[in-house]
Symmetry: D4
Subunit: 147 residues, 8 copies
């Protein structure tokens, strides 16, 4: 089988590229999906429909357009990797984790040791906690091994 892996969360470092490169180097049977990771484009996702003056409604409209992509990809993936970085609130990453938990979709969290405590609910429903993209690639190797 080909595994579809959704890469959720932080968009300011190259962790996605590292995982994709590692998977490709190992020849893993994996296809990756992800949200639109261009921050400005994501914030403006709904502007083609008319840009609301009020910030709340502009965010609302853009988030709904983004969710067409993200919710569909989350529902269709076999596994999600959810990254929490050093900056920003990243509530959308935790939201995706809760979505996976309710769907029964397994997910791996990827974050440093210093935020273990505030992420305890998110981690306890995860199937694994990784600290580096290399570890994620190792998990993918193991999980997708053929024969």
């Amino acid at each position: 089988m080909i595994w579809t892996v959704y890469l959720s969360g932080e968009i300011h470092t190259d962790w996605r590229e590292q995982i994709e490169a590692g998977a490709e180097a190992a020849g893993l049977p994996v296809e990756f999906t992800a949200p639109v990771t261009n921050h400005a484009a994501s914030d403006a996702a709904g502007d083609m429909l008319g840009k609301p003056d009020v910030a709340f409604w502009r965010d609302h409209q853009s988030s709904k357009v983004n969710s067409i992509r993200t919710k569909t990809m989350l529902e269709q993936c076999d596994l999600a990797v959810i990254r929490f970085g050093d900056k920003y609130k990243q509530w959308n990453a935790a939201f995706d984790a809760g979505f996976c938990a309710a769907m029964g979709t397994p997910y791996i969290t990827l974050h440093n040791d210093d935020i273990v405590h505030p992420l305890k609910e998110v981690d306890s429903a995860a199937m694994a906690w990784a600290q580096t993209p290399e570890q994620v690639v190792e998990v993918l190797k193991y999980v997708t091994a053929t024969g």
Copy 2:
């Protein structure tokens, strides 16, 4: 019908008590559920099973025990109110929101205006955004009106 409303999120202010008092004063047909809101007790929720030396596993064990309560109550509620306060990461609150979204359970977010942008994904899947407990009570009055 009696509505079961789960009150998720921040545990350091009295927003739950305000909503409960408002609902009681109005005689609303509502029953409230909530996580254990004693911070220390929640962190120690699994210690009766043997307290692990490693912080990650202690958190893991406690979070799973907490989830027996929180996941069950989330699944059984008709509506959730999810509060984001001024402090802490509150990823568990965003996790609960994602869980509700996947379950199709309606939820109301309760937070100040200054965190509208980082909460845009959480808010766009919500049925309402309130800024005060009084507004939540007003929504409950409207939603549960009989005749």
Copy 3:
């Protein structure tokens, strides 16, 4: 068993009251639920959260608050009666019918003979088409008969 029957659709005539009176007169084991049927109140359902200047977003906000009530009641009812009257577009009534069809919830349509053709998709997924509230009461009598 007590049957929960949701009364969806037109809010400008007294068809709900007729059905409720008929059911009460017959002593049927039925509890009725319904949306908020005060038109102005329904349009203003979200105004307590701050009334948006743009009509689309005011409607959006109010409709979401209304949906907390209507979606929950639709999901929890055993049977829905969906009324199409002479005036207005009544797309929300057809929306509720589609919602029931997807949920597998049986529903009865209530409308005059002259709109049979445009309602053919809605009617073909219904369990019955009634032309008068009296007929609905007769169906309820039959369906809920005990022994």
Copy 4:
């Protein structure tokens, strides 16, 4: 991934062709499905089984045959676009919207500004409201972007 997009609703203008042409011109990874859009053929969909004399039953029989196609396509699509035009009741379009809402399938509404108010329930459960086929194509571009 290839996105399957169901085009529901109005059958008297060429909005479907415009969206399909736009998607093809942009090389989007999208496959479109749709109901039978020939009005006469759709009304006669069940006549091969024997044409009932009574209009209600002819409509009933044809609508059920149509629903084999439409319900299956709706259930299998990743996204629906639902068009409300200037004429006719179009209750079947609203019915499809309600069906999507209950299934958790995202949908985009496509209609003019003058029917925003009667469509408020349908729009509030949608992921986007577009006023032109070009806007729908823009949303599809954004949502299906690869890398």
Copy 5:
């Protein structure tokens, strides 16, 4: 817990009354539901909506009205008992069995030894095959035993 047991199938002998009497005599925590068992009333279930001239459509209309009751009760029961008698085709009984099988609702078949072979698919998905109402009561005693 109180068990809800749906009694499906043959309506020309008193097997339902025997089971109900046996359960009452034993004081079992069981509530019984059943279709309308008056044959003429069942055939005329939809006539209050206008009696179609064509037999197929009269049957169609009445069966749909009946299904409001039977499908709801089947979906809500904890256990079904499905009786096949000596006469008639009783395809509705086999239909109910298939419905239960797809829902994961356990059912007991009740029929004589001479129709074991044609009922093999129905029986193989059942949790038990009984030949007499007394045996059904014995199963109910065992299944609902408290402490």
Copy 6:
């Protein structure tokens, strides 16, 4: 899309071959699945596991082996055609219809006019009733039409 159509029911006439030939002649995008239609082989489906002496258990064992095939194919089809012939009880056909009804899978019944009344429950949950294989092919043509 390619439609998967399951052909359930009677195994003593060539109705399946007629439908398959008609679909092939019309170049329809349809793939057919079916139970094992060799009567003797079907009755002996479980004998390779050891043939039980008691007829009931031999039937039981064979029916369960058959159900691996039939239940899987039913769950995975887009549409079922369910045939009731002149002979035998054919409770398994009615069972399959009930299974489809509970799954929300559309099905077409195929039977003569003389058994309309005993099949009324099965027909009322069907999307169409056909009397000849040619009519089924016509429905398939309409339903699967592309553009």
Copy 7:
């Protein structure tokens, strides 16, 4: 809320009574359900339907009758406690754990330290591992605390 807790597994020691006594002493809002725990009665659960000569089919018939009770109670409980003792294979206990895992029902395992390794798959999907009935009672106290 009243919590329904299913007590699955070993039937040769008084662990159920200890948990029930502890919950009663603490006044917990808990109702317990359990399989029939009389070993001989459980083995003979289907004998009232005719005792098969072949051991496999007698076991088969009795297990199906037992499953009417156990599957229903498992599906309806809020939480399961699954006990693995010192003797016997106890595959039914592990079967119940897998059933809970697939249903999303939280469960607590109860077993000694010396079988941690062979139970690792069962434990990793559990919400807690307890070694004594007293610990289970402590978890129940925490989980069901009101206010």
Copy 8:
């Protein structure tokens, strides 16, 4: 159709290879999936994430990593074969059986005659009990026969 068959359970004999060879020799339309069957590798499945000192948590971490693979494959298979051998507790095999039962996924058990009684709950929810890999291949031949 191509059948996906998951081979669960005992990892110390070559039963998987026998079934795969038999299926290949017969040219069956079957694809096999399986857990990682290297015992040491399976026990160390989570060690790349940091090997916990406490045996329970090492098992816990490894089992969760394994479950990413096994739960996904179980959910996606059409049929499972679950093998119980002569050694070890094999609670994970029974766990998988319970998981299948709750999912409605058909499974075949494969074990010797001497453990029929302790496996009665597992066998009664199975679609077949085989004693040899050859019998499993025969069932696969029958179930997947084309035309």
